[in-house]
């Protein structure tokens, strides 16, 4: 498919999504009717073994729905999900169970995603127990080792989630997700609810664990700065579609899609000299409703340049094209060999 990661010569990508579509029906009463929410509309990407892909977008862009489809918490409307080459799009819960060993998820809110009635040790050991990878003493030993790996004192195994701080809880979440050594970790905004100083520690930990254990990671966030620190490659989503994807360095050095440029320019920089002197791309209005997404290019209603420069955007949906090596953009104004409309000076974004 179009946005392909580097695939090792002998192996399939860890995760592969092909033209994924997820529509929800809403508000259907006894008399029928209701409308369709186009949460995800044709998303394709793959993650190579050991690769970290950042999926970036604002609320309502569909990034969490992509994650939920990837781990088959949702069954996609159409498209294909492949885990290590195996098609898991429509397999049953029972068939799915052994495969759960290969992918685990870490959620945004480390409090509501941990069972308050279980001790942290039981929480971390549960996937091992369910997958029959340990019991009794050997399980205890494994759990203790995991606590050590994520930087938690092993005594905390006997505590309940409410006794821990936010950062510690997120470490428990990570330990649980990594207990069965999955091939793929899906982290949905894992640091957004944490304070800055704790965030740094969790991001460092995630990076260390990844380089030790070598899992692939789909890292979902609205914060471009954390992606830049952590990920190998970035995909930017807007209203259910990927509008741009590129290796991290490339994306930050030369963002092409007007939306990506706007996002980068809107992120606040903790330096008044820089922050007050930079150009900001102001987007008009709000993200449109996914119930009735705009025709043609979905970004056109807020795009600062589409109206004049790309009249075809009202009818035609721009395809995701490779404009530079491994750099894909879905915009009528960006073509291979033709520079993107520069809304902001890329050097200014990097300040």
């Amino acid at each position: 498919m179009s946005v392909a990661g580097d695939v090792r010569a002998n192996g399939a990508p860890t995760l592969e999504l092909e033209d994924l579509v997820m529509h929800f029906r809403t508000g259907r009463g006894i008399v029928g009717g209701g409308s369709v929410v186009h949460a995800v509309d044709g998303v394709s990407f793959s993650i190579a073994p050991g690769e970290l892909l950042g999926l970036v977008g604002e609320s309502g862009s569909g990034k969490s729905t992509v994650a939920n489809c990837a781990v088959r918490l949702l069954e996609p409307t159409s498209g294909t999900v492949r885990l290590k080459g195996r098609d898991i799009t429509h397999i049953s819960r029972r068939e799915m169970r052994p495969l759960r060993r290969d992918m685990h998820m870490v959620f945004q809110d480390p409090y509501s995603s941990l069972n308050p009635r279980m001790t942290c040790g039981q929480i971390v050991g549960e996937p091992l127990r369910v997958q029959k990878l340990g019991r009794g003493r050997s399980l205890d030993a494994k759990v203790a080792k995991l606590f050590d790996q994520v930087g938690l004192r092993t005594e905390l195994r006997f505590r309940y989630p409410h006794e821990l701080s936010g950062g510690q809880r997120q470490r428990v979440g990570l330990a649980r997700a990594l207990s069965v050594s999955p091939a793929l970790l899906i982290a949905d905004e894992p640091v957004s609810a944490l304070d800055v100083s704790v965030q740094a520690a969790i991001l460092n930990l995630l990076r260390d664990l990844q380089s030790d254990m070598g899992f692939s990671c789909l890292f979902i966030t609205h914060d471009l700065a954390t992606v830049e620190y952590l990920c190998d490659r970035v995909a930017v989503m807007y209203l259910g579609k990927i509008v741009e994807s590129a290796p991290t360095k490339e994306l930050f050095a030369s963002p092409q899609h007007p939306y990506t440029q706007a996002l980068l320019s809107a992120a606040v920089v903790p330096d008044p000299e820089v922050q007050r002197n930079r150009t900001r791309v102001v987007l008009e209005g709000d993200i449109p409703s996914p119930i009735a997404p705009p025709s043609g290019c979905r970004f056109r209603t807020r795009c600062p340049v589409a109206h004049e420069s790309a009249p075809q955007s009202e009818e035609e949906d721009p395809p995701l094209l490779e404009v530079a090596r491994r750099h894909y953009v879905a915009c009528h104004l960006v073509r291979p060999g033709r520079p993107a409309p520069a809304l902001v000076d890329a050097a200014e974004l990097r300040a």
């Binding site: 604002e58 100083s197 704790v198 460092n204 830049e228 996002l263 008044p272 000299e273 102001v282």
Partner: protein, 326 residues
């Protein structure tokens, strides 16, 4: 005389597990038309101190100290006097615009309520003024919007409505508690522009409470950094970012992922340890257990605020950009 003078403000909550000192001896002033940023992590006392100024805390809170505003001490004033100040002279904008608006009333009615209560306008006048206010906060088609309910508006629009309500009586001070935290970055940029615009056009002084050092860098004139209920540093904004003095401020700035923030191994700089429990605050520097510069003195004595550069205050025995012991 400043617009607002807060002196030695302390807030204590008595709970079943003993008393918790949420704010400990906070003093600051706010000038006319100034944007004062108050930054700190969860539990540092930034919201509690703001709420105590308008006596918005529950009965379990014991507030001491003073806050002079327009010849009145806000802390000791009777509730009846405060009613004329709240929303009229000092207005509040909260983080979550959905929960701060009443879901069952139209936008126009919620704005009108403030205008009728505080300014004595009749319904027709209130409606006209409500439309003007929505226009002021740059909500498109304000005539249509006054007839809508909160759920029909997006998050950014709701926050604009909250700001419109806050501005309804042309207050002297706007206290904004994490006004952009729940919003997307592109929406946040618009709200920050709006606040800048309000300050310039109406001359409203703003106290901006946030954990986001980027937001403060964007809009504040002066910044207070709080840690464990105490003010640990205060400086004009450019000075604070160019030469942060307190190890906590330096740690916070260093922990934010951005180009050049990582160390030689490509790791982000963490602040080791965690925020202390407010129940057992020591008579020492509260940051000492996490501080690379801590020594015996830091652990046994509480550092007082002192001016290390013009208008730059810091509560640390070993202040300095590079940790030079002074």
């Amino acid at each position: 005389m400043s617009l607002l003078e807060v002196h030695d403000l302390s807030v204590r909550f008595d709970t079943d597990d003993g008393s918790v000192h949420a704010v400990d001896g906070l003093s600051f002033s706010l000038e006319d038309g100034e944007v004062l940023g108050v930054v700190g992590e969860s539990g540092c006392g930034k919201s509690v101190s703001a709420m105590s100024l308008l006596q918005l805390l529950p009965e379990t809170a014991h507030v001491t100290g003073g806050a002079q505003f327009d010849g009145l001490d806000l802390i000791s004033a009777p509730k009846s006097k405060l009613r004329d100040i709240r929303g009229r002279r000092i207005a509040f904008v909260f983080q979550e615009p959905m929960t701060s608006l009443n879901p069952s009333f139209k936008i126009g009615n919620q704005l009108g309520e403030v205008l009728q209560r505080h300014l004595g306008l009749n319904r027709r006048q209130a409606r006209t003024r409500a439309i003007e206010l929505l226009d002021l906060v740059r909500i498109p088609a304000p005539k249509r919007r006054v007839e809508e309910y909160p759920h029909q508006l997006s998050g950014g629009m709701r926050q604009r409505v909250m700001i419109a309500i806050a501005l309804a009586c042309d207050p002297k001070i706007l206290i904004a508690d994490e006004p952009t935290t729940a919003l997307d970055v592109t929406i946040q940029a618009g709200i920050l522009d709006l606040m800048r615009d309000i300050r310039e056009r109406l001359g409203t002084a703003i106290i901006l409470i946030t954990h986001n050092l980027g937001v403060v860098a964007d809009i504040a004139d002066r910044v207070i950094v709080m840690y464990a209920g105490r003010k640990v540093e205060e400086a004009p904004v450019h000075d604070l970012y160019a030469s942060p003095q307190h190890p906590y401020t330096i740690g916070l700035l260093g922990a934010i992922p951005r180009p050049g923030a990582a160390d030689e191994q490509g790791r982000l700089r963490e602040i080791p340890g965690r925020v202390p429990s407010l129940a057992e605050l020591p008579a020492a520097c509260a940051f000492a257990p996490r501080c690379p510069r801590a020594d015996d003195r830091t652990r046994s004595q509480k550092p007082e605020l002192r001016e290390v550069r013009p208008q730059h205050l810091v509560a640390c025995f070993h202040p300095g950009v590079n940790g030079a012991v002074s």
